[in-house]
């Protein structure tokens, strides 16, 4: 019998090597019943976009603590779009000042979660906003 499963990717763009948060997120997604591809730290937007396409994920969760999100997050969205994968939902998390959020939304990031957001809020958002394939 056919059964659709959500596939998500957790990636850490940028230079900081603290991936505890990303790992916690990956685990929480697994516990929510998703298949989670974890790509590790120090990923470039190009690596993230092409991995997301190879893995056919429905969603990419970007985690960034270094402040480089302003450039890195929109770059991932842009590369996905350029490669015919603009339908993949991109969300972001990390220390992101309020004044940056609107710009990120404008760039196509669908949701932003700051540190301290309860994990089930993120899971609920995904379940509500990312529809499984037909």
């Amino acid at each position: 019998m056919s059964e659709r499963k959500l596939r998500v990717m957790v990636a850490k763009p940028g230079l900081d090597g603290h991936d505890r948060g990303a790992r916690v997120l990956a685990r929480c997604f697994r516990d929510a019943g998703f298949e989670v591809i974890y790509t590790g730290c120090h990923q470039t937007p190009a690596q993230i976009a092409s991995s997301a396409i190879q893995e056919d994920v429905d969603l990419v969760g970007l985690s960034c603590l270094s402040g480089a999100h302003r450039y890195l997050f929109p770059q991932v969205v842009k590369l996905l779009q350029e490669n015919g994968a603009g339908d993949i939902t991109v969300i972001g998390g990390g220390i992101i000042p309020d004044q940056d959020c609107q710009k990120l939304y404008d760039a196509g990031i669908k949701a932003i979660f700051t540190p301290g957001t309860p994990l089930d809020v993120i899971v609920d958002w995904i379940k509500k906003n990312v529809k499984p394939l037909e």
């Binding site: 690596q47 991995s51 893995e55």
Partner: protein, 321 residues
């Protein structure tokens, strides 16, 4: 057949989606597989098995690099376990291979086991077909590595590599799990660690006692040092690559490749028969409530499983009975 064409043209997005449709048992996916089947059978398939943490993904990464240096295109299928409690999975093999993420000649796809035993995913056979039809020269399949009964890989691979690590008690466990018999090549990994020499000697002793395999292939033992020393690692991987190549040549020259192909084909036919015959019958028994009635009968000892199964067979498989 639009998707089939895209696959043959090497379209990664279409290929990955097709693999997903197979994983999700979407009926249309079967049509596409039928369509691309004639274009399969060209790729060399190599399986990598061994305990979790043995360094399989790191080896795969090294083998990808070695093959790209020789201008060969590569597919990687990396299998990790599905949690039986939540149905979710963390697929982390890719982490070790990300330096190849942007290389258009490399297609890495992670698969979750989704409850299938044997260290692979039910979709792995068709996923290999997809990468094969895309024109990948070599396909590397990394199994889960939980040890027990992880021998299914021999149904898919030309060459099986069993990875062992000194000091992990691997040797005995692997023998128990029957994993030694499936090795075409042994890797003693992390051989910078204590006990590597001992492990190697034990393996040799074991091979000395084993009957000579068909065609006279004796599995070579390749020691691989420290993956954190890139030059050394690359050299060792070069040796492993050479052994893989030798084994493939051996299969071809001794005509054993025909046997492997036959085994692979039989296995595939078996799986297809199972899903074409057993699954529809089971689905019907479930949807008509017949299955529940049968279970009730068994609980009341009014019948036995064998008789009930024969009854079902008489009803639906007239020609055979």
């Amino acid at each position: 057949m639009e998707i089939g064409k895209k696959i043959k043209a090497g379209d990664i997005r279409a290929a990955s989606r097709l693999i997903r449709d197979i994983e999700d048992s979407i009926p249309e996916a079967k049509f596409t597989i039928k369509h691309i089947f004639p274009y399969t059978g060209k790729a060399q398939v190599v399986g990598i098995t061994g305990s979790p943490g043995a360094g399989k993904s790191t080896l795969v990464d090294g083998l990808v690099e070695a093959n790209r240096k020789r201008n060969r295109t590569v597919g990687v299928l990396a299998v990790d376990p599905t949690s039986p409690f939540t149905g979710g999975a963390t697929l982390g093999d890719r982490i070790r291979m990300q330096r190849h993420a942007e290389d258009p000649g490399v297609f890495i796809r992670s698969l979750a086991t989704r409850g299938s035993l044997g260290g692979l995913s039910k979709a792995v056979g068709d996923a290999i077909h997809v990468m094969d039809a895309m024109g990948k020269d070599i396909i590397l399949v990394e199994t889960v590595g939980t040890g027990q009964q992880e021998v299914e890989i021999i149904n898919y691979a030309h060459t099986v590599i069993v990875v062992l690590v000194p000091g992990m008690g691997d040797e005995i466990q692997a023998i128990k799990a029957g994993i030694m018999e499936i090795a075409d090549i042994f890797v003693v990994n992390k051989s910078d660690r204590e006990g590597a020499g001992k492990l190697q000697r034990e393996l040799m002793a074991m091979l000395d006692m084993s009957p000579v395999a068909a065609g006279g292939w004796r599995p070579p033992i390749v020691t691989i040092g420290n993956s954190f020393k890139p030059e050394e690692f690359e050299q060792d991987i070069g040796k492993l690559s050479a052994r893989i190549h030798e084994h493939y040549e051996f299969l071809v020259s001794s005509d054993l490749i025909g046997d492997r192909l036959r085994r692979k084909t039989m296995h595939e036919l078996n799986e297809a028969l199972r899903s074409s015959i057993l699954e529809p019958v089971l689905n019907m028994l479930v949807s008509t409530g017949e299955l529940d009635r049968m279970v009730e009968k068994l609980l009341k000892k009014e019948s036995d499983p064998c008789s009930l199964a024969e009854e079902v067979a008489r009803k639906y498989l007239q020609e055979c009975i």
